[in-house]
Amino acid sequence: MYYLREMPDKLTITVISGSVDRLTGMAVLVSGAVAMDVDVEIFLQLWGIYAFRKDKIRENTHLSEFEELGEEVMKRMVEKNVKPWHEVLKEAKELGNVKIYACSTAMDIWGVKLEDLEMVDDVIGAAEWIEKAKESNISIFV
């Protein structure tokens, strides 16, 4: 394969959702990327920031879809040994090159600081995020 310029494979994920189902899907993709030696950068917006708050990350049970099936799907995930999304993400972060950024405006909305958030590396703005996303081969929105 030929590239116009050398750059590492990179996946960027913009996360506005704070729902456990969407975050679970996100975490699985991150660990898949890490296994494939793909760098990952994640940008947290509104509910994404809320879900990474140290005081919320473990107690959050909100689902974005099929709320009536929530109890059943949670039970199945436990049966099938699917780890909580934040544990999957933490493991991926330890194993690969995963950076997590928080949106400065959303931080302001929640009145939180970097040290109030789990696993988050830095606070950046939307323009800087777009610059990072421009350099990635895969970019998704959760």
Partner: protein
Amino acid sequence: MGIDPSQIKPNKTVDARGTSCPGPLLEAKRSITQVPIDGILEVLSSDPGTKKDIPAWAKKVGHELLGMVDESGYTRIFVRRKK
């Protein structure tokens, strides 16, 4: 002619049965450095996705997939570390 994978003697076996996708692949990534270069890692997985994931990973990262053996309820996957 290819080798019979069931005759392969691995340097190390990692049992990832019971972990869900992509757990077995992460185990493979973690464990491959624990066998010498040209050594063989065997991964046991009960997750059907692994049969696609590990070949894709080996190709991307540059290791050699030697073969797979389906057992009852799980698969044995053999990878030769190349670098």
